[in-house]
């Protein structure tokens, strides 16, 4: 089988990371160039892949499968369908933008770029993987650099606390999800880690109801912690507040979508009954994200904490879309995943620029920056507007679809969520704009310089353009998502399951046969 374009997409950053290892640390320009090249190649290939993708094609595209551990059924298997094609495109673009924004890093650049490339390559690989093992392992591979980066290049007094908190939270989340995935592997009885095969197998032999009820919450909360589901969200604002901008961009933009992707790709189709059972609870929990965290965001005085909280609030809409368990909702949820990736990266990138130039993100100390920072200020204004759901930006399309979807299932939750989206979002975003960009310019910022260089503008322009393109022409993305979202939804429409859990001895026997 020829090497899939997906392999190139996620290996390009990893290869660049390898190449960086041998570059001496004082060759700063070359280090930077290699990092940019790696992510740029991956971005161009991702765009090419996105354009070549045929919506509604049966099965996966750009597939590649190499058997690895036959006895356990682990193989290297990559492929895309409507659910992850947008995510990979978004991931590659955000990774390139983050590499562009890394000029703010002044110390230990080599290590920083290596970690950054590992993060981007790992998570792109996780999105492309169709094998549970690689899916999980590559995500962990991408996750660990986050902790190191916050610990070493982070900012602010609470840096260490934030590092500990994000490490513990995310490790626990990943661990719970791992338990769920292993239990799923054992209970599915398919003896393979290959996701399409498990799905095929489960279609014929549904997982027992009580097994579903045991595994689903593990996956829901395990992945939920990774996505900052309320009330497990407090790592996110603090972590992002302390992280260097590129790390926050990649983590909030791409890594955070992993849990959501896992929920839609794995948990929903494999465990439909438990999903139906848990979705009402999820819908109410997501109000915690939208309303509660929205209110918390209103109180923040630090721009990064505000953006971090708002990013947590946005996760609520995705959860709401998933919770409504219908075609519009799932499509809308996937759409917001992509849109929010661009948006989160954009806002963190911009706040990084402002921090770099002014040395503070305390909003009461800033003001009137629109006068000096024409480009950055305009971009921040647009990002704030996109953040409170302005049409024309991609978030609006996703949010509105989610509202349409959930209206038929959870009307009360929808009403409150709309309040959160339109009013609370509007309040904290316009307050932030008022405090940072409007009003008189403090004396000390009279010499703040705007981004004039093309390289400085490029990442922001790229992300804004992506938001615009998908916001004005949502069909580009929805057409690709819808056919595969239909499959997910059709699997969640209930199939009668066997009443009892498969006994562990039963599953182990065929495996030992294999080994002999």
């Amino acid at each position: 089988m020829p090497i899939s374009i997906l392999t190139y997409i996620f290996c390009a950053p990893l290869l660049a990371a390898l190449a960086l290892v041998v570059v001496p640390r004082n060759y700063r320009v070359i280090i930077r160039f290699i990092a940019l090249l790696g992510t740029f190649v991956s971005m161009v290939l991702a765009i090419k892949m996105f354009c070549q993708f045929v919506p509604g094609h049966d099965g996966f595209q750009f597939e590649q499968q190499i058997p690895w551990v036959n006895s356990l059924g682990i193989s290297y298997h990559v492929g895309v369908d409507g659910l992850n094609v947008g995510l990979i495109l978004m991931g590659a673009i955000v990774a390139f933008a983050a590499a562009c924004c890394s000029w703010e890093i002044q110390t230990r650049e080599k290590e920083f770029y290596i970690l950054l490339l590992i993060m981007s390559g790992g998570i792109l690989g996780a999105f492309a993987s169709l094998d549970l093992f690689f899916f999980y392992a590559l995500h962990e591979f991408a996750l660990v650099p986050t902790f190191i980066m916050i610990g070493i290049w982070g900012r602010g007094e609470r840096k260490n606390y934030a590092t500990f908190q994000i490490t513990i939270y995310l490790s626990i989340g990943a661990l719970i999800a791992l338990i769920g995935l292993i239990a799923l592997y054992l209970q599915s009885g398919a003896n393979t880690f290959d996701i399409p095969k498990i799905i095929e197998h489960v279609k014929a032999n549904p997982i027992a109801t009580n097994a579903q009820n045991f595994i689903f919450p593990l996956l829901l909360f395990g992945f939920g912690i990774l996505v900052s589901l309320w009330p497990f969200h407090s790592w996110a604002p603090l972590g992002y507040g302390s992280a260097p901008a590129p790390t926050a961009m990649i983590h909030a933009g791409i890594l955070k979508k992993f849990g959501l992707y896992g929920l839609t790709r794995i948990a929903l189709p494999l465990m439909p009954q438990a999903a139906h059972h848990w979705m009402t609870i999820l819908a109410w929990l997501c109000l915690g994200n939208i309303l509660y965290v929205g209110w918390v965001a209103m109180r923040q005085r630090d721009l990064n904490l505000l953006i971090g909280n708002s990013s947590v609030a946005h996760m609520g809409f995705i959860f709401l879309g998933i919770a409504s368990l219908n075609l519009i909702g799932i499509t809308g949820a996937v759409f917001i995943m992509v849109a929010h990736g661009f948006l989160a990266a954009l806002t963190f990138g911009l706040s990084g620029y402002i921090y770099q130039k002014t040395g503070t993100l305390e909003m009461s100390e800033l003001g009137g920056l629109c006068r000096k920072l024409r480009f950055i200020g305009t971009a921040l204004l647009m990002a704030a507007m996109a953040g409170c759901g302005l049409p024309g930006f991609a978030n609006f399309v996703g949010e509105v679809s989610v509202f349409f979807a959930s209206w038929t299932v959870f009307p009360v939750v929808t009403i409150l969520a709309v309040w959160g989206a339109l009013v609370i979002g509007g309040i904290y975003m316009t307050r932030a704009v008022r405090k940072i960009l409007h009003g008189p310019l403090p004396e000390k910022y009279a010499n703040v310089a705007d981004a004039t260089n093309v390289w400085r503008k490029l990442p922001y322009a790229l992300l804004l353009a992506s938001l615009f393109v998908f916001g004005c022409f949502p069909k580009l993305l929805t057409n690709q998502i819808t056919p595969d979202a239909t499959k997910i939804v059709s699997m969640t429409t209930l199939i009668t399951a066997k009443p009892n859990m498969v006994a562990v001895s039963e599953i182990q026997s065929p495996k030992s046969e294999n080994r002999n």
Partner: protein
């Protein structure tokens, strides 16, 4: 449909201009102004050509799929009928005049190009509302006009008051949009469609299709209009919006955007049932009364006109609620002419007075600014409803509508407002243009340049003759099946068919003007507060609505936010996480005691462990 391309061009030319200005011509003032004005004037010409080719009573739709997920179908379409085509003419026509005026008004501003870019963005959004053929498309442009208004109010963002006003306008509008979106969701949930034509068909086929939800859905949709058209209780943003440049006040906060609410109500008129209409009528009437009362005691030239706009918008909404969309649209059209005219004339005064806005610092500008004076007078007469000016005809049709619906309470209110309107308009007029100069600025005032006065004259012509040039004919076909086309002479004499409202209307207007004349002819300070006492203070302070909202809505949100933040900080982060962390810490401390640091102890324990394992295995 002939010239199918034209509507697309009309819609997209302004956004093209806005994008080009932002990306390329920010440095060239000349190019920017040319692009922006060119786009809107071209839109005006194309609109005329299109209407000429297809006729005003043409009805058609061009539609492309924008988003399609399962049974959620959202089109991007253009709805072309009498209603939208008339609005096209108003937006591009009045808007064009204001664009040209802006060249003079913004002449000295450093953000000249930026201003035109934003103005074009606004024009695009407004045309989008006008042409939208479904709810979501309308909502999209609804939000976009909201944001362009936000940008333009905050145009002088360095002034803290401008930043605050922009923020306030945005948030208050969002409150209205909250209801609007819920209404859209509700209607989609029941009828399964978002397209206006499809909805109208299903409502015509089955008038009770919405069932018990009809009233709630109608009122939720109306919430959108309450926000955008600044109706009570969301009226508070509009007066503050006067922080923006005057052309913006004229274009957005008088002629077009605030009228979008009324337009939207007329567009979806078929969805509103009798109960909903009733509520709409009373809210409109109450807003009109409230705003007219507040206007009496304002001293800022722009704020007076702003409250007058509020009041007139209330009038239009009331007309819609009284089952008279034709009258509402008629008044909307004439109001666009004379209110834009009044704002632009006020802008001319402000420029002439070197950015002074307090009317008690002006006086006797009649001689110094003759063109402004005469055009302002025409606008004021039209606003007060003096025949044969445009406002007289439209106001009369609303009054007639009140009587026709036998709603005598609202008729009385409307009459009272008509009197108040004439009073505060001429209060402003006499204080500013007659009497003595009250400051040095007033003595050295000068007439504005031609680029500013020309739009005034054009608008003044329409404000004068707008009542009988066939506007009602054009709207008529939209709402009434068997309407008859009237000639100009018939229209001129139309009010005579309903002599009662006409005579009363003219009468109260004249009384209002007379009182204003006697009180303010030579006044140097306001004599009213002494006579009205507490009421005047209340009027002056806008009946304390800002304070009320500050104390309720804002406080409530801030309070909840504080509580949530406290929970987040102390309960979630402090207590829960603290417990986990403290527990781990304690266990660690206990286990630490085992670590003696002596290598040999470890070795001994290691051997012991091995021995135990061996014993277990070999047992």
């Amino acid at each position: 449909m002939k010239h199918e391309l034209f509507p697309w061009l009309i819609l997209f030319l302004p956004i093209f201009a806005a994008a080009t200005i932002t990306l390329f011509t920010l440095r060239s003032r000349c190019c920017s102004a040319f692009l922006s004005i060119g786009a809107i004037v071209a839109g005006f010409i194309l609109s005329i050509l299109f209407i000429h080719a297809n006729g005003i009573h043409f009805a058609g739709e061009i539609s492309k799929t924008w988003l399609s997920i399962g049974n959620l179908q959202i089109d991007f379409g253009l709805k072309l009928d009498a209603l939208s085509m008339m609005m096209l003419l108003i937006v591009t026509g009045v808007g064009g005049a204001i664009h040209i005026y802006s060249v003079g008004y913004m002449h000295e501003d450093a953000g000249f190009s930026r201003f035109f870019a934003k103005l074009s963005l606004f024009t695009f959004s407004m045309l989008g509302i006008v042409l939208a053929n479904n709810f979501i498309e309308m909502f999209i442009f609804w939000e976009l006009v909201g944001v362009s208004s936000y940008l333009l109010i905050g145009f002088w963002f360095e002034k803290p008051s401008a930043g605050d006003a922009a923020k306030k306008a945005f948030i208050v509008n969002r409150l209205g949009d909250f209801g609007f979106l819920l209404g859209i969701l509700m209607i989609w949930g029941i009828l399964g469609s978002l397209n206006f034509a499809a909805l109208q068909n299903s409502i015509t086929a089955n008038p009770v299709a919405l069932g018990t939800a009809a009233t709630i859905a109608g009122l939720l949709i109306f919430c959108g209009a309450v926000g955008k058209s600044a109706q009570f209780p969301l009226h508070v943003w509009l007066p503050d919006a006067m922080e923006g440049p005057t052309p913006v006040s004229a274009l957005i906060h008088a002629a077009t955007m605030v009228a979008a609410g009324v337009y939207m109500l007329c567009r979806i008129f078929f969805l509103l049932n009798a109960d909903a209409l009733h509520v709409i009528a009373y809210i409109g009437g109450f807003t009109a009364l409230l705003a007219a009362l507040i206007a009496v005691q304002q001293n800022d030239i722009k704020r007076i006109i702003a409250y007058s706009t509020l009041s007139q918008l209330g009038y239009m909404v009331m007309a819609v609620g009284l089952n008279g969309p034709t009258a509402a649209m008629f008044h909307l059209t004439t109001h666009a002419f004379f209110k834009a005219l009044l704002f632009l004339a006020a802008g001319s005064v402000i420029i002439g007075m070197h950015h002074e806005q307090d009317i008690w610092h002006m006086g006797n500008l009649r001689k110094k600014m003759p063109i402004t004076f005469w055009t302002f007078l025409i606008g004021a007469l039209a606003l007060s409803g003096i025949p044969p000016f445009a406002g007289f005809y439209s106001k009369d049709s609303i009054l007639a509508q009140c009587l026709e619906q036998k709603n005598y309470l609202l008729f009385g209110v409307a009459i009272f407002i008509a009197g108040l309107t004439a009073f505060y308009t001429f209060r402003l007029f006499f204080v500013v243009f007659t009497g003595k100069e009250k400051t040095d600025h007033a003595k050295h005032a000068h007439e504005s340049p031609l680029v500013m006065t020309l739009p005034l004259v054009v608008l003044a012509v329409f404000a004068a003759v707008g009542g009988f040039i066939g506007i009602t004919n054009n709207y008529g076909s939209q709402f009434v099946a068997d309407h008859e086309t009237l000639s100009v002479a018939q229209q001129f004499l139309e009010p005579l068919h309903t002599p009662v409202p006409m005579l009363i209307g003219i009468g109260v207007a004249l009384i209002g003007i007379f009182i204003a004349f006697s009180l303010y002819k030579n006044a140097t300070s306001d004599p009213l507060p002494a006579k009205l006492g507490g009421l005047a203070t209340a009027m002056k302070n806008k009946f304390y609505f800002d304070e009320l909202y500050e104390a309720t809505f804002v406080r409530a949100h801030d309070f909840i936010a504080a509580v949530m933040d406290w929970i987040d900080r102390w309960l979630l982060e402090g207590f829960s996480i603290g417990l986990v962390r403290g527990g781990t810490d304690l266990t660690g401390r206990a286990l630490r005691l085992l670590q003696t640091g002596n290598l040999q102890t470890y070795a001994f324990l290691f051997v012991l462990g091995m021995a135990v394992v061996l014993w277990l295995v070999l047992k």
